[in-house]
Amino acid sequence: MTEVREIATDAGIPVREVYTERDVAPALDERLGAPGRPPFTRGPYPTMYRGQLWTMRQFAGFGSAEHANERFRFLLDRGQTALSVAFDLPTQLGYDSAHAVARPEVGRVGVAIDTADDMADLFAGLPLDGISVNFTINATAPIILAMYLVAAERQGASQASLAGTLQNDILKEFLARKTFVFPPHPSIRLSCDVIEFATQRLPRFNPISITGYHAREAGCDAVQELGLTLASAIAYSEALVARGLPFDSFAPRFSFHFATTMDLFEEVAKLRAARRMWSRIASERFGAHDPNSGRLRFFSGNSGTTLTAQQPLNNIIRSTVQCLGAVLGGAQSIHVMGYDEAFEIPTEEAVTLSLRTQQIIALESGAARTVDPLGGSYYVEALTDEIEARANDVLTEIDALGGAVAALEQGVSQRWIAASAYRIEREIAEGIRPRVGVNVHEDPEQASVEVPALFTLDPSIAERQIARTAAHVASRDGAACAEATAAVEAAAGDGVNVMPSLIHAVRAGATLGELSDVFRSVFGEFREPHPW
């Protein structure tokens, strides 16, 4: 080896041989604060996991509402404490299952929901006033929320009793996750309609989960992930303030979502820096008076892109490290990837192991015993400061471009992500970035991959779903539904909050595809700028 590579973190922050108190800037106490107090570096709550463990929330859903309901019961029976719903792509993109483009995708990456009836079946026998539900839904979030409210209403659960989180972060769809439908500005408006409605009507519901996870999974590093996430939070806040809503009326309802990947200490530092930065942004940019406005709470997902198809059982160890990182970083809820997720929707065996991973860390490792166990570590504090400084630089760059929306309209943020993804892949291909089983410690015997039992999807699901929706449409009062749908169109066009009219239309039997078509006709559809 002629070239000596600098030892650095995953995000490229140089790392010293050893850290001492000289590496930590003065006045650490002020930068830390007490747990549960601004700037929340040590955690959003005073007692953290001593008071309450994080929520173990495995993302699940596939096939029809009945199939997904079965998987939910399976997880709850094994000690999971809340639900997290995955929707299929047609549902995420506003197509009913019968639409030509929907057919190959019905029920594949999540559950197919066309109507409020499907939503009611999804939660059949699961009391919605007693369980917290997370929805990974964005472009069609207002419609899905309306259907959820109608399903809850049929169970007799009051709106005030409903707890959960709606992802509803459309900006990261343009950046990375890519289930956008409408152009950025009307999309933000719909997100804000949901936030405004929830702020007034759903006291226990988080109406948005501002997410860096997908940008990270799409290839950016920890520093960019943090900068991009906070830039989005700033953009939503500005849009809501522009509506005349006081910052303190909605900011306490924001939740966040970060990836926790393999570089354990950098990830913990990133999560600590995230809390401190948001606390400062809340008070300095938006003049928050309510300390809850700057209290950043987050859900952590393990990174699927760190999992390998080679030697798949190694993924259990990777997930364990990542879950530990999320716990040491102070997560409020956690999802652990199935070790077989490089191939398919995880099997029951794999999701059980993921849940057990969380339970073992919670109950056996001792990591939950005290608040912010790594606080005061010279290395972690120095990294936390450095990540904060670098993420602030990202924010400054985004501000200079005109903010998060302008940056993505110009394709700048997307190019950052793609360039970083390409660098990582080249480093793996060249062996610079170790991946056990892939470019180091390969197993020559294991030429082909053996996964014990792959999940298989029942091929008749699409046909049954389509027939079901057709029967629903045939049985509804067509005139009343058309009238209710026209009211949604009027609200969308007039800039009135769409939630009340959507709830009415869903109750009248309008389908997700029909209501999405209304928005498509009013707002148009977005086509991405060319990636380079």
Binding site: L89, P104, V109, A218, G219, E344, H530
Partner: protein, 134 residues
Amino acid sequence: MRAPRVLLAKPGLDGHDRGIKVIAMALRDAGAEVIYLGLRRSVPEIAQAAIEDDVDVVGISVLSGAHLPLAADLLQALDREGVVVPVVIGGTIPETDIGSLTELGVAAVFPVGTGLHEVVDGVLELAARERVER
């Protein structure tokens, strides 16, 4: 002689485009001319672009599990138009589906876990063979 020309696109509704963009950049750095159509392209759009741009290889990426119906549709559409061009596919494709894709007429499958160089070399080799045969 012109550079090998590769058409890349994401058919269907799947938005996972990290992989296909990485492949596009790697192919470009390896000297290929890459036309990337982007997300949510319909099969007729992809087939049309393959004809108009006279490409040597068509590559699609699917991570939603819908690879079998989408590959079948694309191969049929190309066949109907009388276009002879190798089609390759990458994504979360289980081992057990590779045989079915090959039977459909897919020239190469790059499932999760395939190395970057392996994909680039595989695509360029197909492109070179295609150009010799023409």
